[in-house]
């Protein structure tokens, strides 16, 4: 008899977490509305066209949901089995970016495959979560041992650094958070945690001086006082804060925000889509978004809770951390709490590559939920 859980999966669809998927779909739907409003000023073509950002995003969402169902059909142990391979492919792709990637706004993050842009760091996030889950569970799911901790750090550091030199500060922070979150779930000792915090604080000034690209320093210092230097780098933070603040409680109404519609806001269907929401739908709209995110994340945490085995738990935790941190950093950027990093708002921002990765993640979480009883027998 196979141990791949097919028997357990016979009843698996009963356990399929519909609330998780509905929360994700609600976020995508919310995103479509905001993309529509954010692209009014730049797109005036027909509604049913692939040039239309709303139609495009809708199509990507449709494909992504299909992929999610396919992924959830598979036992996540298959993915764990290939974790080293997936990780190796990620490293190769990230290395390959150095000579042949597409440079965009001074940063090399993309491959152009004909009309489709493929971002290897999206793929690397999932691969790293899978490999960390496998590695930590092979060590008994216990990160109290310093060697286990060192091993997990050795897995994370290469991808983190490759992403950092692109340079993509936001995504490298995500990788750091994935590692930190997963070792915390796996039970890191408090003194080790304090030790890493101390190392981090000690290294920060050097990293600041030697490795952070000029534009990142500029963005970080602009964050400290966006008003002080509105030349260039301060533009986006000022405009997004004015947009959100002026939305007040109920917002100016969809498609009525002058910051959005008069083009003061830039990349407003992507990185600054939250500012569109803040301006046009106000505090109430933001709270609705937060509620959807919290539902989604708590359902993900539930999956970690009920997971049938250690790797399942760690994978679910890793995916929850990825989504949480990406959402947090993106919104924090919009609110002027964090330097501009170019991270999309998960499920909401326009972008097919990100959407596909996110739904693959949701599919893996479903796979864990659907099989939790099958693996609990052991």
């Amino acid at each position: 008899m196979s141990r791949f859980g097919t028997q357990g999966a016979l009843r698996a669809w009963d356990r399929f977490d519909a609330i998780l998927v509905l929360a994700a779909l609600a976020l995508v739907g919310y995103g479509l509305v905001l993309i529509y409003s954010g692209s009014l000023a730049s797109y005036d073509g027909p509604a049913a066209s692939l040039e239309n950002p709303v139609a495009r995003q809708g199509l990507f969402a449709f494909i992504a949901i299909g992929v999610m169902f396919i992924v959830s059909r598979f036992d996540y142990h298959v993915l764990l089995h290939y974790a080293w391979w997936l990780y190796a492919i990620s490293i190769v792709l990230l290395l390959a970016l150095i000579p042949i990637g597409q440079t965009d706004f001074g940063s090399t993050r993309w491959f152009a495959l004909g009309p489709i842009q493929f971002q290897p760091s999206e793929f690397a996030k999932i691969a790293t979560v899978l490999l960390l889950a496998r590695f930590l569970s092979e060590q008994g799911g216990d990160a109290r041992d310093l060697r286990v901790l060192g091993g997990s750090l050795a897995i994370t550091a290469p991808v983190l650094l490759l992403v950092f030199i692109q340079p993509d500060l936001g995504t490298s922070i995500i990788f750091a958070a994935i590692w930190l979150g997963m070792v915390v779930v796996a039970g890191i000792q408090r003194r080790h945690l304090l030790f890493f915090a101390a190392v981090f604080l000690a290294v920060l000034p050097f990293a600041w001086t030697f490795t952070v690209a000029d534009y990142q320093i500029e963005r970080i210092s602009v964050l400290l006082d966006a008003e002080e230097d509105p030349l260039g780098a301060g533009y986006n933070p000022i405009q997004s804060q004015i947009a959100i603040g002026s939305g007040q409680f109920s917002g100016k109404g969809l498609t009525n925000g002058e910051q959005t519609q008069l083009d003061f806001l830039k990349v407003k269907t992507k990185d600054f889509i939250f500012s569109v929401l803040g301006e046009e739908l106000g505090f109430a709209g933001a709270m609705a978004l937060f509620a959807l995110f919290i539902i989604l994340l708590l359902r993900g945490i539930r999956a970690a809770q009920i997971a049938g085995d250690v790797p399942g738990q760690l994978i679910a935790a890793g995916i929850v951390i990825t989504i949480l941190m990406q959402a947090f950093i993106n919104i924090a950027v919009n609110l002027g709490l964090f330097p501009v990093t170019g991270l999309p708002l998960p499920f909401v921002s326009q972008g097919g590559s990100s959407l596909l990765t996110l739904f693959i993640g949701i599919g893996i979480v479903q796979s864990i939920v659907m099989r939790h009883r099958a693996y609990r027998q052991f």
Binding site: R3, F4, H77, L80, H81, A133, R134, S137, E138, G141, G181, V185, A186, G187, P230, L231, G232, G234, Y235, Q239, Q241, I242, A243, I244, G245, S246, G247, Q248, F249, E258, Q259, F264, G278, E279, G282, F283, A286, M287, F290, F293, I294, L297, L298, I301, A304, Q305, D309, V310, P311, Q313, L314, A317, V320, I321, L324, F328, A332, L335, L337, F378
Partner: protein, 638 residues
Amino acid sequence: MSAAADRRDRRVNPGLSRNRPRGNVAVLRIAVVVLFAVLGGRLVQMQLVDGAGYAERAERNRIIVESVRPARGLIFDRKGRPLVENSGSFTALVTPAFLPEDAGDRYRLYLYLEDLLGIPALQIEEAVTAAVERGQRDLPLAIARALERDVALMLEQAAADLPGVALSVEPRRLYPGGPEFSHILGYVGPQSPEEWRVLQEDGYAFNESVGKVGVEARYEAALRGKPGSAITEVDAQGDLVTVIERADPEGGRSLVLSIDSELQRYVYELLSNTMGEASAAAAVVMSPVTGEVYAIVSVPTYDNNIFSLPDPGEEYQRLLDDPRIPLLHQALSPVAPGSTFKIITAAAALQEGNVTPATRRDVDSSVLEFIGEDGQPYYFYDWRVHGDIDLIGAIAWSSNIYFYMASCGIPQEGIGGLGSDTEQSAIVLGYYARSFGLGQVTGLDIASTESPGVIPSPEWKRRVRSGPLFNPEDRDWYLADTCFMGIGQGDVTATPLQIAIATAAVANGGWLLDPYVTSRILAADGSVVSTAEPSRQRVPVEEEHLAVIRRGMRQSVIDGAARLAALPDTLVAGKTGTAEFVDPEDGVTRERAWFTGFAPYDAPRVVVTVFYDLGVGGVKAAPAAADIIGYFLEHVDP
């Protein structure tokens, strides 16, 4: 389970644990709550506590994106003398809506403007009242145009304290060189709707001027530079709050022409003073080595400065109405080349072998009787009795009968022409004419209405002579067509520039050059961006044949038709042309004067082609060419 099975099991199901996971999941819940609480707290502060303040900022957040136009590139002659200046056109503007509310204050402001601009206060008041009545309270109203520079500066200073008064500065091109440069430089002007449709793609503003003709148009992209932009935040009153982003414009590139401005002026004045009864004239002075043009003159010309006036309409209309068509570039407009074309006929005949340098003809009469296709005799004339001459003598004395023989042959004497029959002869001659650059545009880098001219052929004649205006027999190609073509008459037309490059090809041993007037393009900082690369094609004629033609042209200046082109210190070689045409005004046959030549004979450095629309080549054009060559060798390339 065996140990091996267990290992395999772990490989297949890595990390499979028999323990219920007991990881610290609660910390994730705490993280979600804490992080969203941070975001929520910040939102409460921004939207609920400070929201009204942000709303006010959004309200007065008037961000203006302006395009900052770069200074247009300059144009210099070959010795670095400037041919264009950038200047400003200053206009005083009044916006009625911003004027003082109080009538007394308003009138004091008008009185102040009267002092400054010399425009009566009452007149300003009337203009403002009229604008308000038209409902144009918010539009800036021009009350004085083309202000003097110092007045404009004073107004600019004063405007800070005068509500509703502003100075506008529009870039303006000034051409200090005089009208003799207009045909080369061209001018800039407002875009036509068709141009706007294309140019807005390149980021042109609607009211931005563009090069219309001349090098101003040909090198528009280089001269314009790259506009910068300024994003500024202004308050509700339109006053600058802060500059948010500024991208400096990239200055336009400058051109260094191969034109020598003093030579250009000399040639222009020479032609103007020797026009006599002629109404149009042109001259080309160029290098037979590189193809660079030292001077290219068209008379009459026009003042290109009128196009930068606020309203060129009246002056422009006068130019359009002038029967002498000053806007037409005579050096790029085709007319019958007359006997200057014989150098091409000679090259064709030598290369085809139907004439050799030793071929003689006794031109004992100025009339030659041909038997036409209809069996009737036709009489073709020469301009004098030349006696017994060879090819060199025929070139030197410009014998028509010799060149009838060389092109169409003399059938009744059994002398064949260039080809096997009359039509073939014309086709062969047409091939050589095209090889020497005729019948096609030269591509000179001046945006203009350069015309290719006509090299006729039997096929061409059938095509253009069809239609109800012509009889069927008008479409046939006759012996006379080939014969007249051989002496540059009939339907043949060529521009002075084409004749110049054909002459250059004879002078330089068989290279057809691409002529140009722009030798270098400079970046805004003066560094050289690109340099003209001479390009050329081989003419299909042996160098030894061209040497014969050069000898004929030299002989023409020594003791032939072009004697008046001789200079004491230099060996000049040349060919005159006197093309007959029937004046459409009165039906009288008149003559156009041509001369084309080069110097020095043994190592040519300059080609000169001169054309007057009325006159005899050897009398009028040859001496002018001699003066130009003399001036060139003394002042431009001593």
